[in-house]
């Protein structure tokens, strides 16, 4: 990625900005594996919207291996293209594969947001032992802009762009809106959120995977 100032934010970067509690400089509370799954979904969405991947109701397939010029997306596309004769797989297959790299992909995207001058990284020690990392926002223009756009999608009846539809689906999949809307606002907007979220099959797959992760965590906690 050559000139970041001229490159629009990816779905992954915008998702991370939405998932960041700007008052605390930390992510809202998500299970790590749910966040990894959402990050994997965001990468698949970014490649899809750039016409490198496509999908039907059953499978996701590679339609072009031409690099997009993005140092996060291109290595993923390269890996996907190595799959045996580019056999189509269900979206859930790729989600699982990429979720294993979710933390690394997330880290790369956060570094890029730092390079863009949108946030900075602060590492602190608590009681001189435990590490704590915060990402205070330096310039909140981008965060405000993406929040306003997504709120516009879920609080009005406007037809969303494919980019915003995907971002909404991702936000819904990992329960993001309960953090950025009041419970009353959420209750009022829920039918609309569900409608928009359903429009994207990658978002549907992320939602299903996150539900399974949360159920597994709940079951494991119940056994303690």
């Amino acid at each position: 990625m050559s000139d970041l100032s001229k490159t629009p934010l990816t779905i992954l970067e915008e998702f991370l900005l939405l998932a960041l509690d700007d008052s605390a400089g930390q992510f809202y509370s998500f299970a790590r594996s749910s966040l990894d799954c959402a990050v994997a979904g965001a990468v698949l969405m970014d490649l899809t919207i750039r016409n490198r991947l496509d999908n039907d109701l059953k499978d996701m397939f590679i339609v072009s291996t031409r690099p997009v010029g993005d140092d996060i997306l291109d290595p993923v596309l390269e890996t996907m293209a190595l799959a045996p004769v580019m056999t189509p797989h269900p979206i859930t297959y790729w989600l699982r594969q990429l979720s294993d790299e979710g933390e690394a992909l997330c880290e790369k995207a956060l570094r890029r947001l730092e390079q863009r001058g949108i946030l900075k990284r602060e590492d602190k020690k608590i009681l001189w032992v435990f590490g704590s990392r915060r990402y205070p926002i330096v310039h909140d223009k981008e965060m405000r802009e993406v929040k306003l756009r997504i709120l516009g999608v879920i609080l009005r009846d406007d037809i969303p762009s494919p980019h915003d539809m995907m971002l909404t689906a991702l936000g819904h999949a990992c329960g993001l809106f309960r953090h950025i809307l009041s419970s009353q606002e959420l209750a009022a907007a829920l039918p609309r959120i569900e409608l928009v979220a359903r429009m994207d099959l990658i978002g549907q797959a992320v939602a299903k995977a996150v539900t399974e992760i949360e159920a597994a965590i709940a079951m494991a906690s119940g056994f303690r």
């Binding site: 899809t48 919207i49 016409n51 496509d54 999908n55 039907d56 109701l57 339609v63 072009s64 406007d158 037809i159 969303p160 762009s161 494919p162 539809m165 409608l195 359903r198 429009m199 994207d200 099959l201 990658i202």
Partner: protein
């Protein structure tokens, strides 16, 4: 594989666009370009006749969404008709019928638009 292209479309009267057999990643680009011609000509109501459409992918759905949004921005309306088989399954599984009105045939689409 890519049979949907500008030359394969039969662009009839200003408001109807005959869709060819596939609306996938490649065809979606041509579809958007051609649908924009209608918008530039001032069309306010556009019916996508999907009678010949047999395969639609996620890219095709997003292209329809993009054009529905662009039509709405000029206070116009985009509807589809004659969806069947796999394209209809995709359309309904993603709830697109809640955003883009779908009619079982051309006459019903025209009648609803005229109402």
């Amino acid at each position: 594989m890519q049979t949907t292209a500008t030359e394969s479309w039969n662009l009839k009267e200003p408001e109807i666009m005959e869709m060819a057999s596939r609306l996938d990643c490649d065809a979606a680009i041509d579809f958007e370009q051609d649908a924009r011609i209608f918008i530039q000509r001032g069309a306010k109501e556009l019916v996508l006749n999907c009678a010949g459409l047999t395969v639609m992918t996620g890219a095709g759905l997003r292209a329809m969404l993009t054009m529905a949004k662009e039509m709405k921005q000029v206070e116009g309306k985009l509807v589809v008709c004659n969806l069947q088989g796999q394209p209809q399954e995709m359309f309904e599984a993603c709830g697109f019928n809640e955003i883009i009105p779908a009619y079982s045939n051309k006459d019903k689409a025209f009648a609803r638009m005229a109402a």
